[in-house]
């Protein structure tokens, strides 16, 4: 089966004097597979997904999206990307944002009329008439997911999709991922919520300081009798630079 995404020896740094933000990452994602990209803050997860979405250029290595360079607009035709902290043109309304993005996806008018109300209803934004500038973070996150699924993608990238969602929203996203997986859509999930990743992902890669520490199926990464969080903490701490202790003023407070 042809890989939806193939990442080989990917390296990236933002400026020549900076350390590598991503350092030799490789993985592949196949249709119907849910892949979890895990790591502490600054591990390079968002950089990897942005390179796959054609938003950043890779420094070294090779990345293909549906067999093409992600920088090629046509390669992104079947991509749905819900970014972390999504934002939109702030003077538009939710319906207009979806119509705008549906036009970018090349959907015809009939398709737009059918998909936009349904997508808005799924996101719980169908009654919303305010402009984006008046949206809360959670509402923007819902709209971010809505625009990502609008084109019925074959690859859905979700970058911290549930960070600002309430428990109901999280449940909806889990149900969405399950449904998409069942219909053959590949899902790349980038999340800090390890319990959620454990529930929906078949394969995971744990990153720290730009490198893959461990990768494999959930059963390979998480041994019997342990959970993903334990494995994650153990791996990340073993590869993290020594961290400062608690600030002295906090300790003083403890003494008093």
């Amino acid at each position: 089966m042809a890989a939806v995404v193939s990442v080989e020896g990917l390296r990236k740094r933002y400026r020549s004097r900076d350390p590598w933000a991503v350092d030799g990452v490789s993985f592949a994602l196949e249709p119907g597979q849910a892949f979890g990209l895990l790591g502490p803050n600054g591990a390079g997860k968002s950089t990897v997904v942005k390179i796959i979405a054609g938003l950043l250029r890779p420094g070294e290595g090779k990345v293909t999206l549906f067999g093409s360079d992600p920088g090629n607009p046509m390669a992104r035709q079947d991509l749905g990307f819900a970014p972390e902290d999504p934002d939109f043109p702030k003077f538009l309304r939710a319906t207009e944002v979806l119509d705008y993005f549906a036009s970018l996806l090349g959907l015809d008018e009939d398709e737009r009329k059918r998909r936009i109300p349904e997508t808005l209803a799924f996101a719980g934004l169908d009654k919303e008439r305010r402009q984006i500038r008046q949206f809360s973070k959670g509402m923007k996150q819902r709209l971010g997911i809505a625009q990502a699924i609008l084109g019925r993608p074959k690859l859905l990238i979700l970058d911290e999709p549930t960070a600002d969602l309430d428990p109901l929203g999280r449940r909806d996203v889990r149900a969405l991922i399950d449904q998409l997986k069942a219909s053959g859509v590949a899902v790349l999930l980038n999340s800090h919520l390890l319990s959620e990743v454990e529930l929906v992902c078949d394969t995971v890669a744990i990153l720290a300081r730009g490198r893959v520490l461990k990768e494999g199926t959930m059963a390979e990464v998480v041994p019997e009798g342990r959970n993903l969080e334990d494995v994650f903490v153990e791996l990340v701490q073993a590869n993290a630079p020594p961290r400062d202790q608690l600030p002295s003023f906090i300790k003083e407070q403890d003494k008093s």
Binding site: A75, D87, G144
Partner: protein, 302 residues
């Protein structure tokens, strides 16, 4: 093509809802109305007070003098507001998408950066032409009510020239704001535009022979002249100056005829209508700035 049209369409929707442009438009519309009403009030008050003595000037000539002043002020007001609107659009149209993160969702769709830039530039140009067009129609209405000084045609051409000049500034601000903060971009563009205007003025003075015959100055100024955008101009300012000269020289009986400056002297100090060379240079500068905006958007990692 679909992508370009979608970007342009929704950029126009956004621009139509931006309060800053609405404020500039309202101030412009009020300013132009006030110039016309002020002229009417002033001219009728002046006629009532002055035109009674034995040396009173011809009321028709006075009226024409007011009209010429009115047209001159209108040209200035239109140019000023066209520039304000150019800054207002240029500072926001691409910058806000990049700065807010909206570009992340947009660029992950199957739209090329070229289509995005073309859509943005098209929307900005349409918005500016629409806003300045409405203001110039208002100016034309004012002229219908208060008189044109015989320069109605010239005002139209001058308006087109001012839109063209504002377009250059807008594209420069737009291109710069993809590299840097939009306020800094506006300041850089303002300084560049002011220096450019000064260089063009100096160049016209040099051509008219007012700056002597210094070869080094000539060569230096000619080089600098081709490094800055040339503001396009119609013949309106020269026509106004000539009409005012004719009018006031016929009123001036105290200065002996031989000591009065000639019409040629008056006209040569005012830049005339732009030639084909200036228009070709303007097209080149517009293409260059639009190309710069595209290059910046293409290079931009979001």
């Amino acid at each position: 093509m679909n992508g370009t049209v979608a970007v342009a369409r929704y950029t126009l929707v956004e621009l139509s809802r931006r309060r800053i442009l609405l404020v500039f438009f309202i101030i412009g519309a009020l300013g132009i109305a006030l110039i016309g009403i002020g002229l009417k009030v002033f001219s009728s008050a002046f006629n009532n007070v002055v035109i009674s003595g034995p040396t009173a000037p011809d009321p028709a000539k006075l009226q024409r003098a007011f009209e010429l002043g009115f047209v001159n002020d209108l040209i200035g007001a239109l140019g000023f507001f066209a520039l304000l609107i150019a800054f207002g659009i240029g500072m926001t149209v691409i910058y806000h998408d990049l700065d807010s993160g909206a570009a992340i969702s947009i660029f992950s769709k199957p739209v090329s950066r070229a289509a995005f830039t073309i859509g943005k530039v098209a929307a900005a140009v349409i918005a500016m032409i629409a806003i300045v067009g409405v203001l110039s129609i208002e100016a034309r209405l004012m002229m219908l009510f208060f008189g044109t000084g015989g320069l109605g045609e010239a005002l139209w051409i001058e308006t087109v020239a001012q839109v063209a000049n504002a377009l250059t500034v807008m594209l420069l601000v737009m291109a710069l704001s993809t590299w840097m903060n939009n306020i800094v971009a506006a300041i850089v563009a303002f300084v560049y535009n002011t220096v450019g205007g000064f260089v063009v003025l100096l160049h016209s003075q040099l051509q008219a022979g007012f700056l002597g015959d210094n070869q080094i100055l000539k060569v230096g100024l000619n080089i600098v002249y081709w490094l800055v955008p040339h503001q396009l101009m119609s013949d309106a300012r020269r026509q106004i100056a000539l009409a005012q000269f004719d009018l006031f020289s016929s009123l001036d009986t105290s200065t002996p005829r031989g000591q009065r400056p000639s019409a040629d002297q008056i006209v040569s100090s005012i830049p005339g209508a732009s030639g084909a060379g200036d228009i070709i240079w303007w097209v080149f500068v517009v293409c260059l700035f639009a190309g710069l905006a595209y290059y910046a958007v293409r290079r931009r990692q979001v």
